[in-house]
């Protein structure tokens, strides 16, 4: 079964896999996480704002994103982003956007819906007394959110946010459907070029596993540390 397992193909392609593939994956993960959390927090605030139009708009967006597969959203934005670029910049034809830019927009906007639900739970978990205390000293809504509510909500939900980041990290593999060269894409290209599917896919699975598993262990340790402080 493993008689002619070719370790060499893995070793030879390590630079390509990691310099080209993994950097794409990690950059996309990091940037989409930041963007997603920022936009998600905004969506959560809109939903909890009490102003019906904002609340409905944000709610509708979140429910829409959560009802459809990520693969479909990837296709959507692949075709949509050039048109949006054209509309935004007033150009005469759809703008050519690179694979990275298109993916970044897709993942930021998609994962924002999931981050929004996490932040919403976080904001709602802050005792009303905190908000009242802030208002009692004269803080505005934005000051209350910015100095009192959001910092606490963020800290409380940090483990969940990090877990969602790990999910995002795994989700990035789906850019495969556009033949984009992320880590899986790179492994796949080597596999097909050299006819070594078994070695490359097993290696890819191993790498994803190690990174996700170690990350989740760190999150669990963080969770225990935070629990003690509380």
């Amino acid at each position: 079964m493993f008689a002619d397992f070719d370790f060499d193909v893995i070793i030879r392609s390590l630079p390509y896999l990691f310099y080209d593939g993994m950097t794409f994956t990690l950059m996309l993960t990091a940037l989409a996480t930041c963007g997603g959390i920022i936009f998600g927090t905004l969506l959560a605030m809109m939903r909890l704002s009490g102003l019906a139009p904002l609340s409905l708009l944000a709610g509708g967006y979140v429910n829409l994103m959560r009802a459809v597969p990520l693969v479909l959203v990837i296709f959507w934005f692949y075709f949509l982003v050039p048109f949006i670029g054209q509309w935004v910049t007033g150009a005469s034809r759809p703008i050519q956007v690179g694979a990275f830019a298109s993916s970044l927009v897709t993942f930021t906007l998609f994962e924002a819906a999931y981050f929004a639900e996490i932040m919403r739970a976080g904001i709602q978990s802050i005792r009303r007394g905190q908000v009242q205390a802030a208002q009692a000293v004269g803080m505005t809504y934005l000051q209350t959110m910015g100095y009192i509510v959001l910092p606490q909500a963020f800290r409380n939900m940090l483990p969940v946010l990090l877990t969602q980041t790990i999910v995002l990290f795994q989700d990035t593999s789906l850019v495969y459907v556009l033949s984009i060269t992320d880590f899986l894409g790179a492994a796949s290209k080597v596999a097909q070029r050299d006819g070594r599917l078994v070695e490359m896919y097993l290696f890819a699975a191993l790498v994803y596993f190690v990174i996700s598993f170690v990350a989740s262990l760190l999150v669990r340790r963080l969770q225990r540390r935070v629990a003690i402080i509380h």
Binding site: P69, F213, S216
Partner: protein, 249 residues
């Protein structure tokens, strides 16, 4: 915007010469639902088993269950599908491997197995949480009557645990429906694949993807309302959080 809208495209014949585009989308929907439901059976069965063994007092069983969950949760679904579809046939004895490669509808079976195991890890987490949320006394009461541990799980613990975890299980079911789209990478012609095919052949990008989006939303709504009906039907009278308590004090 330089895009020609043509909503009539749905009624034009697709390249296969037989079906309209709308019909191909509906056929794709059929495959989506078939894959999701079959995979859900696998996920529930394996997930319940693993969830239960993680609540037993035997440390080796618990470790086995934990390892199972960690394995299927830390590898992306797409990679898992590739392993089942491309790698497994190569690792099996040649005769078995060749038979697998030539199986008609291989992508369907692979998708069901792959999706089933992937989701079973998440179901296992929820079943475990559900069982642990029950008062310890329930287990003791069942054992005190002389029920074996297996009987205690089947007749006392699991019936209540499932009711408790109906909401997260509903979420998982919706996830399985969405995740079935990943199988387009191994050739399953489910809904998203059909929409993509329609886009490629007709160039009516937004019509195709809008239709797929609408269908997913409809499925989502039907499942959500369906599960709420199930929740109401299975609610235990007087149990906190389930049905309204009929006061008989």
């Amino acid at each position: 915007m330089n895009y020609n809208w043509n909503w009539g495209i749905f009624f034009q014949t697709s390249p296969d010469g037989v079906h309209t585009y709308l019909e191909t989308l509906l056929m794709g929907t059929g495959w989506t639902l078939a894959t999701a439901l079959s995979a859900w059976c696998v996920a529930l069965a394996m997930g319940s088993l693993i969830g239960v063994i993680r609540t037993t007092p035997n440390p080796w069983l618990v470790r086995l269950g934990n390892a199972y969950v960690e394995l299927f949760r830390n590898i992306p679904l797409l990679v898992q599908m590739f392993l089942w579809y491309f790698v497994l046939p190569e690792l099996l004895p040649t005769a078995l491997g060749d038979w697998l490669k030539q199986l008609p509808d291989a992508s369907f079976y692979t998708a069901v197995v792959s999706l089933g195991f992937y989701t079973s890890a998440r179901v296992a987490e929820q079943v475990r949480a559900g069982i642990l949320s029950l008062a310890r006394g329930q287990g003791w009461a069942a054992l005190a009557l002389g029920l074996t541990p297996a009987q205690a799980y089947v007749y006392v613990l699991l019936p209540m645990a499932y009711r408790v975890i109906l909401p997260p299980l509903t979420s998982e079911f919706l996830n399985i429906i969405k995740n079935s789209a990943v199988a387009l990478t191994i050739g399953l012609m489910e809904l998203t694949a059909r929409a993509r095919a329609m886009q490629e052949f007709s160039f009516q990008v937004f019509e195709a993807f809008t239709a797929a989006t609408v269908i997913y939303i409809v499925i989502n709504i039907v499942v959500t309302f369906g599960m709420r009906w199930v929740e109401r039907r299975t609610a235990v009278p007087g149990f906190i959080g389930a049905a309204p308590a009929a006061a008989a004090h």
